[in-house]
Symmetry: C2
Subunit: 350 residues, 2 copies
């Protein structure tokens, strides 16, 4: 009866209906006892469950035109699923909370086609890794926003940030700096697009389609080959710092060994130090950084090979409280970006 | 390195740190294997789990000054938890996704004190019903937004919207129309507050503090006394309509039996039809509507009495597809409110 109503809108009903049909079209029923359409979902769970939630908000985590709606949905899923992977878990169920700006032109409703593409990108990607969309809601807001909760099964011994021990090897999956290169290129806007559309496509692909290390993280955890793990979201150096603090150790790594994403090199026209800076501090890579006893190295590499995943030893865990140090001395001040400081305003490196 | 970064901001780190300490201060460790602070939480779960997510967005579901931040946190929890109650589940774990507008004055950061009050209101209320806050994140956005995911344990036989059978009694907990009366009063703004501050306090309390029927819903479900259940969020008539559609039945009720919240009567200065309209169509009541075999009535009433919860038989389930009808013929067109049509603009009844 008033603008504050929590009551479902007509558009919301339409979206939920579409969501239900998308979910059942895409979804097998594995584990889902009661899916979308009742007050809440009921699912089968094991004795230990991994839970995480994260959001992508327009003007903060992406800007109009950076991602297709399907890419936005997929990215939102992978950002949250990456946290499940970093515990050694396997995503099983997904909930979507969508915010959609009211259509200015029509004066009512929201862009349901755009919303449905987000939904399809998310649900389709989730399904490919064995997870099912089981709930969702949509609300009006000033901007697009995609909040994804992932519910996963946990291994008997979840891999935390706190298990690293002195002498462990430090390993990282894939290559780093690609997402940061993509953000940089996207923030430069359409001038770049006109000049080099193909290059732009390649340089932004790591941002638009984050890697998915779900199977690898879970397989390594279930084989009990790891001592600690974190996903690379803040940036490699900062995330290794989290491992150090949680484990009460230090990490010494060799920046010459850090795998640099091709897109990072391309984005800075081959300048090695600039590319390395993207790899060390750019963040949003959604690769996995982990530590393991040296004796487990071969077994780990075999599993990575099975997943066709590049895996690089970049350093070792050391004693003391010096934190993360590069044996080459290449570390500048790698800080996290404060998105409250510059919400909505794309900026260059500070 | 750019405004789109998913990397954690300084404010976000501070909030997550506060969140972790609030969670561990408030929380026992019941069921929580790994709490806030790692990549994801790990929790103990039973074989069947209830999952639901919902959002309260400023300008849509509430307006500045309508709720204290603690009330906002509590309301956000109860709105989601109500869906768990309606399946007969018990909330166990809670995840919070918070959106906070950047502080205009300071040009950076967000109102962390306000955010912490939301968090405390939510975590404290959750804890009182045995649920633990295990994860959260905060992002800049154009408005405050609180998205809450509740993970609950499910009874052996969850109570759905689809189990109503011809001959069932239709029951409703508590009294209805109070939240709608509160919204109406709050939307009228401060004029009312100056005139009648005490009345305003009383009239808005059902909106500011929704009921919590968690224990009752679960106890009735575990005793297998119910055939179907839904929480009253869209408005009684609309929600009974959902029961009808899911169960392929109709419902005949007596509007003279519908328990009208005192606030609804007060808000319309005692006009009976206007108060009834709020009770039938206002929504956001977060009471439970249920159907049960007549033979179970006494057992149900005993459990409700134990919970000190008013429970009223308002009608019966009938055959056919006539939907929801009132034997007194009082039903007007009760539609859901489309918040995309009027986001941000408080309106009177249409």
């Amino acid at each position: 009866m008033a603008a504050s109503s929590r009551k479902r809108s007509a558009g919301e009903h339409e979206f939920l209906e579409a969501l239900r049909s998308a979910a059942s079209r895409l979804g097998g029923s594995s584990g889902v006892v009661i899916g979308i359409g009742d007050d809440a979902a009921v699912v089968r769970t094991g004795p230990r469950t991994v839970l995480t939630t994260d959001s992508l908000i327009e003007g903060v985590h992406f800007h109009g035109g950076w991602l297709t709606p399907a890419e936005l949905g997929r990215r939102a899923f992978r950002v949250s699923a990456s946290d499940v992977a970093a515990m050694g878990g396997r995503p099983r169920y997904v909930l979507l909370s969508l915010e959609a700006p009211p259509l200015a032109a029509a004066g009512s409703g929201f862009d349901i086609a755009f919303a449905m593409e987000i939904l399809r990108g998310l649900a389709g990607d989730a399904r490919r890794v064995g997870a099912e969309l089981v709930g969702g809601n949509v609300s009006a807001a000033a901007q697009w926003g995609v909040t994804v909760t992932v519910v996963g099964s946990a291994p008997t011994r979840p891999v935390t940030r706190g298990g690293a021990r002195v002498g462990d090897l430090v390993l990282v999956t894939g290559a780093l700096g690609g997402a940061a290169a993509g953000v940089r290129t996207l923030a430069q806007g359409s001038a770049g697009a006109r000049r080099l559309p193909l290059r732009r496509e390649a340089v932004t692909s790591a941002y638009r389609k984050p890697p998915c290390r779900l199977g690898l993280g879970a397989d390594l955890a279930e084989a009990r080959l790891l001592r600690s793990m974190i996903d690379v979201s803040d940036g490699l150096v900062q995330d290794l710092g989290h491992l150090c603090r949680h484990s009460d150790v230090s990490i010494s790594f060799d920046s010459l060994e850090v795998p640099i994403h091709r897109a990072a090199t391309t984005a800075v026209d081959g300048a090695r130090d600039a590319a390395l800076a993207l790899a060390l501090g750019g963040g949003e890579d959604y690769e996995l950084a982990m530590t393991a006893a040296p004796a487990n190295r071969n077994a780990i590499e075999r599993i990575a090979a099975r997943h066709r995943c590049r895996l690089t030893v970049i350093g070792t865990v050391t004693a003391g409280s010096s934190g993360v140090t590069d044996v080459r001395g290449m570390l500048g001040g790698q800080r996290g970006f404060d998105h409250f400081r510059a919400a909505g305003k794309p900026k260059g490196r500070r």
